[in-house]
């Protein structure tokens, strides 16, 4: 057995605390995370699930909600998918830890995309009758709602609030 393998835990901890080069015993488990692979994989998983769901909205027919729910127009779905992709890339680059991405279909033919962190909610609403996206932001203290043009710079500007 090598001397690394025989290193006692107290010595290893001492090395960590003193900042010296640490040699670990075989099988030594730490809480150190080398990269953000879990965060990115989680974000990717949420993005793909949301994308799949939004695509399915295209198959919902008139009356999908049991009442007079309108079918979703291809343009609205395309806008939502495009915004979802822009958001995913932006949030991945910023390494924002999201709790959930929640798409929401509405009976008036509009689509919500909600991004949740532990403390904040940001909801984008794509309405086929509007040429802008409605942005709703809510945290523990305040909430605001304002229209924003549908393009990458504006969307990224709004999404930046999640990581601020």
């Amino acid at each position: 057995m090598s001397d690394t393998a025989m290193m006692i835990p107290e010595l290893a901890i001492g090395n960590i605390l003193s900042g010296s080069r640490t040699r670990y015993r075989l099988g030594y488990v730490t809480d150190c995370v080398e990269d953000n692979s879990i965060l990115i994989a989680s974000l990717e998983s949420q993005y793909l699930a949301a994308k799949h769901e939004v695509k399915l909205y295209g198959q919902l027919i008139q009356g999908w909600d049991g009442y007079d729910g309108e079918a979703f127009k291809p343009d609205t779905i395309a806008e939502a998918l495009s915004a979802l992709e822009i958001s995913y890339r932006f949030l991945r680059n910023r390494q924002v830890e999201l709790k959930a991405i929640i798409p929401g279909p509405a009976s008036d033919g509009s689509i919500d995309l909600e991004f949740r962190t532990d403390q904040k909610k940001l909801r984008l609403t794509f309405d086929p009758r509007m040429n802008h996206v409605s942005v709703f932001k809510k945290d523990a203290i305040t909430s605001t709602e304002n229209p924003v043009p549908i393009d990458a710079p504006h969307l990224e500007n709004e999404l930046g609030w999640l990581s601020s």
């Binding site: 909600d65 009976s107 689509i111 909801r123």
Partner: protein, 135 residues
């Protein structure tokens, strides 16, 4: 509620559920004058796999009074089906804030039992026995 797309995976309602495309208000039933089965299926007008959501009248008042100045109104109907327990809530459109309040106030008592996001084609309609209909 009958589409699983209207709920999150955690079993919470999505705020978009409270958008009123018809601008006529949302319908619900007074529990005292109805049964779970009759309300779930809209007295035969809705699919049998529909879910059921519960609100207290007080929660609706708190969520909607500021903007719409409205009260939940007992509004018995005869057409298309006779429904003494029918209540109309929230005429007009709600803000995102108010929808958030409604989500907090809502309790999903029965989730839709058809778990497909895109349901199979009709016929969904079922016929209830007459004993379930209010006299």
């Amino acid at each position: 509620m009958y589409n699983t797309a209207q709920m999150t995976k955690d079993g919470e309602l999505k705020p978009a559920f409270f958008k009123d495309a018809r601008q006529k208000g949302l319908s619900c039933d007074l529990a005292r004058f109805s049964t779970a089965r009759a309300s779930r299926t809209g007295r035969g007008l809705r699919p049998k796999f529909s879910g059921l959501i519960e609100f207290s009248a007080d929660a609706i008042r708190k969520a909607t009074r500021e903007l719409t100045k409205s009260e939940p109104a007992h509004d018995p109907t005869k057409d298309p089906v006779r429904n003494y327990s029918h209540v109309n809530i929230m005429p007009g459109s709600l803000t995102n804030d108010e929808r958030e309040k409604m989500v907090s106030a809502a309790k999903v008592r029965i989730a839709p039992t058809q778990l497909r996001l895109v349901p199979e084609r009709p016929p969904y309609i079922i016929t209830l026995p007459k004993t379930d209909l209010p006299k």
